[in-house]
């Protein structure tokens, strides 16, 4: 009869398995809270524990453990203060808020924020959680539940740096830059194209991304100020008037930092790089003409010139992205240690290497129009080792020539990586 009992045991074993799966998935409901920026921070001060273990005397060890308790208590106070200040200044993921001097449209923010819901047919709210939060996270920290699988990681908005812009070096993107990325997506990455979204929904998403970015930058600045002891937490032992005074000062500081960040977004429009209108060479449709050929050859020289563009440093002589040399990292990964100790996990996402683009594929994430490539070369890709070459390629037409060469690469077999021709190299 044991043979007949076996299936019953299987029933039970599998039911437990299913329940285990339920526990994994149901562990967290949607708590709409912004996550604190803890990148590079260890709230448990595990290093103190390590030092205590390695201490030579028991007194030293005891001291390290005492210090750890104090440090953890102070950290908790700091964290709570940052949460309170940011909530007062920016609201919550369900009810975002921004002072009027930040220039953000509250109606758009409210459409993008909160849980996904419709109160009127065709008028959806919670757009950010519907379309973006899975990867970019509720806080815009680029650490949504899917982030670990993605390469490159989803953009962390908090440093306020966006890769593909039309604006000058170090400047914020324009709304049009963000719209281009949202509408067209980024080929070869997990960033989809939202081409079918109505304009008012795209506008709401752009507004919310800017909001998260300003909020994130302000948080980082606050953290740095507390870290450098430029700011002090409210002294809870002081009298009420003193505490109130300290709280007001901190709130004012937050407001001014946020306003400073917001002004950079407003100023970005004035720094749009307008491609040089002089000496525009013929592009691919004119392939085969002498003028086009000359432009491509000039571009090839500049591409390889280590004193100016020096593109080969990363993209390689063949432009296959095989420049070799050291490993490359973007700004979001640069600060991370190569091997994070598992007991001191200071970063949500481990270090991720960057690969230079294989230009022979003809895929350009920042846009494929000649004007897009011109800007890519002129202002670089922000937050990455791709530099802004606008200040070294100052001769009229130089950038256009590189654009022409880059556009010609997909049509040239990699084995045809031609040597630089001296006559062309001497050409103006």
């Amino acid at each position: 009869m044991s043979n007949l009992h076996a299936p019953r045991n299987l029933f039970r074993a599998l039911a437990f398995l299913a329940c285990g799966a339920a526990l994994v998935g149901c562990g967290q409901s949607d708590a709409a809270r912004f996550r604190l920026n803890m990148d590079g921070r260890d709230p448990t001060f595990a290093s103190y524990e390590v030092q205590a273990d390695e201490a030579k005397t028991s007194e030293e060890s005891k001291q390290f453990r005492e210090d750890r308790k104090v440090a953890i208590a102070n950290e908790k106070v700091r964290q709570q203060l940052v949460v309170d200040l940011l909530t007062a200044g920016f609201g919550t993921p369900d009810e975002p808020f921004a002072p009027s001097d930040l220039g953000l449209d509250i109606a758009r923010l409210r459409r993008a924020a909160g849980p996904v819901a419709s109160y009127q047919s065709g008028q959806q709210h919670g757009l950010y959680r519907k379309h973006c939060a899975h990867c970019h996270g509720i806080s815009g920290d680029g650490a949504g539940p899917t982030a670990l699988f993605l390469n490159p990681y989803p953009r962390d908005y908090r440093p306020g740096v966006f890769k593909f812009t039309s604006t000058g070096p170090g400047m914020k993107p324009t709304r049009a830059d963000l719209e281009r990325t949202i509408r067209e997506g980024l080929a070869g990455t997990a960033m989809p194209s939202f081409a079918t979204l109505p304009q008012f929904e795209v506008d709401a998403l752009i507004e919310y991304v800017i909001y998260l970015s300003i909020r994130g930058e302000t948080e980082t600045l606050l953290n740095a100020a507390f870290e450098g002891e430029e700011l002090e937490p409210i002294d809870l032992k002081a009298d009420a008037a003193k505490q109130q005074e300290q709280a007001t000062a901190l709130a004012e500081r937050l407001k001014s930092e946020a306003a400073d960040r917001a002004s950079l977004w407003t100023a970005a429009v004035d720094t749009i790089v307008v491609p040089n209108q002089e000496a525009i060479p013929p592009f691919l449709p004119a392939e085969g003409t002498a003028e086009w050929q000359a432009s491509v050859e000039r571009g090839r020289v500049l591409f390889r010139d280590s004193k100016t563009a020096n593109c080969i440093k990363c993209h390689g002589l063949t432009a296959l992205g095989d420049g070799g040399g050291e490993e490359l990292f973007d700004d979001w990964n640069k600060a991370k240690p190569a091997n994070t100790k598992p007991e001191i996990a200071l970063w949500e996402l481990p270090k991720q290497e960057l690969r230079p683009r294989n230009l022979r594929l003809g895929i350009y994430r920042g846009g494929r129009r000649p004007a897009d490539l011109y800007r890519r070369i002129h202002v670089g890709i922000k937050g990455t080792p791709m530099p802004a070459a606008g200040n070294v390629l100052t001769q009229p037409g130089q950038i256009w020539d590189i654009v022409n060469y880059v556009l010609s690469l997909p049509y040239e077999a990699s084995g045809e990586a031609k040597p630089t021709q001296p006559s062309v190299a001497q050409a103006p």
């Binding site: 029933f11 329940c19 994994v24 998935g25 899975h134 539940p145 070869g188």
Partner: protein
Amino acid sequence: MTPASLDNAVASRWPHRLALATACATFPLVWVGGLVTTQDAGMAVPDWPNTYGYNLFLYPWQTWFYGPFDVFIEHGHRLLGAAVGILTIAMAVGLWRGDRRQSVRWLGWVALAAVIVQGSLGGARVLLNERTLAMIHGSFGPAFFCLIAGLVIVTAPRWQSSEPATTSAATGRVQRLAVLTSLLAYAQLFVGANLRHLSLSAAPSAGRALAWFHIGLAAVLVWHAVLLVVAVGKAGVPGLVRRPAWLLMVLLAVQPVLGVMTWVFNYGWPIWTERFGWSAAHTIHAQGLYESFVITAHQATGSLIVATALVVSLRAWRWLAPVTRSSGAVHHGALRGAKAAERDARELLVAVTWPLAASSAMEVAR
């Protein structure tokens, strides 16, 4: 087996016909429900059971048909759900009046209770705007579909005939593997539902753990299906068991492909394929038609896999009889089939639903 002897064994063919009709309506409902999740259209209509203030059946069809796509599929899901509810009522009444077996008659009412619970879960998901409830709703729907598929099998005239079961040394293994595969398939579906409704606040490490669990369980499930068809081949079982077992194998061969495509349409190709132009040029189209179809097909095929595995299990317990260890004698197939299969159907139902109830209770307690 002649038609006359089948008629003698079955009081009425109507319960079977109604169960079949309910199953045929439920599978599209599972599809549309999946599409609602794919398009994140669950909250396209803010009220329930009404639609924008209208009675469900009186919502103007022009507004529905020509309106926003998310309202179209959410309201369509509700209408189809209502149709399944009505069919389930008819089936329950049909079973009560037309089937002689007490347990099967009661299973009809269980199905009705289940469809009411499922509808209420859908309503609560809307009224509370709670993603966890959406996950439970999305997991309970396939369980209901399986229950109806099971009723289709047990109300079939041939099931109730006195036709004896086949026996051989390997039949016990086929039975065990079939049940195990059914439960693994449902566990896998449940993990998939969790992945689809993962909390947006979940840590990246949690998302990765769940995704790996889903992939690992898929491998285990496919392996069990292979073992099952091998055992079916060795046991020389009748076509009634063999055919759905092979169908299960085919579905489980297609499903990983759909799974990979679901991943690609959501998150792109893996980075190591970047050297190829097709990978580097691939742009994901958010909620695109083709993408939505494939992603939803992955989910709907999951339901079909569980239902097919259940069909194999039920038929294996009805049409196969293992050799007993004590005497080497065989069970009398028809006797074992009629009683044991009913008991197993009940156990299967309990095994499938209680993890859901437990997880729901935990959420409520939280």
